[in-house]
Amino acid sequence: MSRRHTDGNNDGRRLGRRQWLSMLGIGGATALAGCSGNGGDGGDGGDGGTGNGTDGGDGTDGDDGGTDTSTYATAAAASFTTLNPIYNTENGAGNAIARALDQGYTFDAENEYVPLLYDMSTEDGEVWTFEVREGLRFSDPYGEVTASDFVYLIQEIHQGGWASSAATTSWRGVTVEETGEYEFQATLESPSLLWPESYDPLLYPIPQALLEPYVAEEDTEGLRQDEELLELQFSGNLGPYVLDEWQRDGGTQYSRNDDYYLRDADDLPDVFNEAPYFDSAEIRVLGEQASRLGALETGEVDQAAIPPERVQEYRNNDEIYVNQIPQPYNEKISVNMRDNGWTTGPGNMFRHTAFRQAMAAAIDKQSLIDGVFRGFAETHFTWQPRFSEFYPPEEEIPQFGVGDRYGSEFARGLAEDAFEQSEYDYGFDGETMVDPDGNQVQLSIYHSAGQETEQLMGEFIAQELGNNLGIDVSVEAIDGTRFNNEYWTTTEFPTPERNEEGEVTEVPDELVDTVNGEEVEWTSPSATNPGPRNVTANEEWDMEIVFGLNTYPRNPITNNAFFDGATAFYNPVGYYPGFDAQELFDNAQQATSEEELADALVELFANLAEEQPYIMLAFPDSTVGYREGLEGPIENFSNGWNLPAWRYDQ
């Protein structure tokens, strides 16, 4: 049956369901990178996998206002931690690896699966057959790429239990078997029609012989530090370019790979037959935004992210064009429903759905988009962007924060509903929301220090909550790493007892709570959901906009990590769904047709729009500037899937 797969580029973040790092999303990443919400390198588009093609053309040498068309150069805001494909979890480094090493597959502009290293097919969603493309070669002395390389990588590294590779969780519970020289099969624990879209089966090709010594010794450090892996020295004909040098803090430099395997592929558009079209490629790390933009203007780089407030300026520049690329990372307010949240007084109003709705109704989404994001964003009502094929019909989701569902009167009505549900005597004194002692409700909201867009957003939110709900909100700046370590996650939590087989034998009382009238046990507490609401991180907090989260539009089932119940893997805010989310996810997971799948997901997203587990605000677009004449970029989530075929118009 159908083949599908994952994405290619744009947001090369790893999308493994349980990989909490990837879930921190763009907010966290940019916080650490020290750049604005518009991303560091402007995103090639998809991650690892890039499509492409063929031989031929050596980069043209044209001349376009100073542009060096023999080199494809991009600007990145932050340097890379590692280029070791087994351990990388960063988007920027994923782009750097992708210049020299393809992954298994990608998705094209129509969201269709495109086989790169291997094709995937299934009859029932449970047993998936991987067919490895013939003619793939590692560098000497490793020889041809065969199914055994992938099977060995999966079984000995990802499933080996000692290596802690980035894809470890993706392959848990999957049975893999080599069925031919160029074929292997993976059997899932339960069927999944959207398995490729989950990115879980996305693999890099790694030579078995390179791994064997580390596997024999179970040498994690050696594997992490292996020079051949870090420098991608084994990449053979597996990428459009060959990595010449990785200059830490400076970037990466590549030269054209004349043997690139996709040049001979007959299942891709002809444009790949001569790819890549440049003699060389570079990624330059330029930490300062002014430097990145200057480099784009002068033609030193061909691509750089443009902050929203500068887009119009660059659109008026004849030598640059700007693409507005929708992406799945959201801007939302996390409200802390745990015991260390709602610091203003007794009770925690955030726990009442009506109160969260009131907050959503108090913030004018369109004004936020116009004012802070200069119009380069889309309203966010449920946990999917509109380009998702699983976006519910508009009439099925309440649209808080626009039209009749925005404003003081409407928001206060919802807040009054919430007060009635509370055992504490909150209310309004004139225009002011007051606690049981008659004092104004005072809350704080954290944003990443140095992030101008976030700061503006925080101030806008504070103003709206003040004007429409009478809440006194203070805006606080904080370092993203500190917020993550001290406020968002915790490593000190009670753990259940397990027997030698790893089965839970006893759950401590601290890990048991009553949710919607039923007793729930946290049998797998995690740093991002350490237990019931009484288990908290070190510091108390009310609201945050430090992190944006991925909404996984290609495979929304992945969102079960956020929402499949009180015990969800990723639940720092302590959200307990008021509907049977687990059942809806199960229905989606077990669906045997696209219709069943869509029905379950649409119902799920309608419920999430109603409950506002996070106060959803906007989906900012990536705005990326390219040198005029560059052909290839598309204004689509899949932008970059065909990066090796990008070229300058002759």
Partner: protein, 324 residues
């Protein structure tokens, strides 16, 4: 004590100082929570394991369960054998990271230092020789402008003007440019200019004030009366005594600027040098790399002070080694 013995004693003292600083660093590290331990606990928690057991395993793996004195001896041995560990945030040995960063930092800091210690005193003496004239005001104004304007802002403005508008210099730093090449000189001219204007002010002011007292001294009057050329008079009779007090402040100033200004300039001009390395090591909580940076700065400070002492004795013949 002869010059050789004096140098030997100073070098020995420098080693002792570095040992003291290294020891303090070790004690601070030993007292601070280890991010690797925290990471291990997080990983274990994420994978459904026992964070406490993971912490214990990690402590054992890293030798943190050893007695303090054993860890101390290991640490000292590693430091002095240049075995500084692995940088997690850059995926390379720390010593290699430091070497690469120093390679780029040296390319702009050597010309910067040379120009500062050359131009600063020259401009100062020139100012003093023309005190209260328009020349003095121009020189002072120039020095103070450079001193007052933030390097970060100044760098961006210059980059905008000369890089973007006039396209006279490249915007992004090209690490592949040969060190001694026109291309490299072009890309380093702005960072060096920004740093020199930033550091010349203080040196110039000290030189100006110190040299003022020698301008009308008896020996200058005598020299002038004997027909010594003004250039020779200033070079021998003003500049040399002026350099004694100036040299005492120079090293400290340059070190402070080296650490502070170089980071900002490296960020603006995209130079992968020591400043950015240290800053990013701190941000990413890369303990080994932070430690490596600390040791390098310690080394630079200790050697700088050593050189300062030696220069002092050379410049001022009244100082003899027996007094020290």
């Amino acid at each position: 004590m002869g010059f050789g013995k004096y140098v030997g004693a100073r070098v020995l003292w420098a080693v002792v100082v570095s040992l003291i600083i290294t020891t303090i660093t070790f004690l601070l590290l030993a007292a601070a929570p280890n991010p690797a331990i925290r990471e291990a606990a997080t990983q274990a928690a994420l994978q459904g394991g026992d964070p406490a057991a993971a912490v214990e395993r990690e402590r054992e793996l890293r030798g943190l369960n050893q007695p303090l004195y054993v860890r101390y001896m290991d640490f000292i041995r590693s430091v002095y054998t240049l075995d500084w560990g692995w940088s997690e945030s850059r995926s390379q040995p720390v010593i290699e990271a430091m070497g690469q960063a120093l390679y780029y930092t040296a390319q702009y800091s050597i010309p910067w230092t040379v120009l500062t210690i050359t131009l600063g005193p020259l401009v100062g003496v020139y100012s003093a020789a023309n005190m209260y004239s328009w020349r003095d005001h121009v020189a002072t104004g120039f020095a103070f402008f450079g001193y007052a304007i933030p390097n970060f802002f100044f760098g961006i403005i210059l980059l905008l003007v000369f890089g973007v508008w006039f396209e006279a210099v490249p915007i992004s730093y090209d690490t592949s440019a040969p060190v001694f090449s026109l291309e490299n000189a072009r890309q380093l001219i702005l960072p060096v200019f920004v740093l020199v204007t930033g550091s010349i002010g203080a040196t110039m002011r000290v030189s100006r004030n110190e040299s003022a007292e020698f301008q009308n001294s008896d020996f200058m009057k005598t020299a002038k009366a004997k027909g010594v050329s003004p250039l020779r008079a200033y070079a021998y009779h003003v500049m040399r005594p002026t350099m004694v007090p100036v040299s005492t402040t120079l090293v400290g100033q340059l070190l402070a600027l080296f650490i502070g200004s170089s980071l900002l300039v490296e960020v603006v001009f995209g130079i992968p040098g020591l400043g950015r390395l240290t800053f990013e090591a701190l941000l990413s909580q890369d303990t080994n790399l932070v430690l490596g940076s600390t040791l390098v700065f310690t080394f630079v400070a200790v050697v700088g002070n050593l050189l300062e002492d030696l220069v002092f004795t050379v410049l001022d013949p009244r100082i003899n080694y027996d007094d020290r």
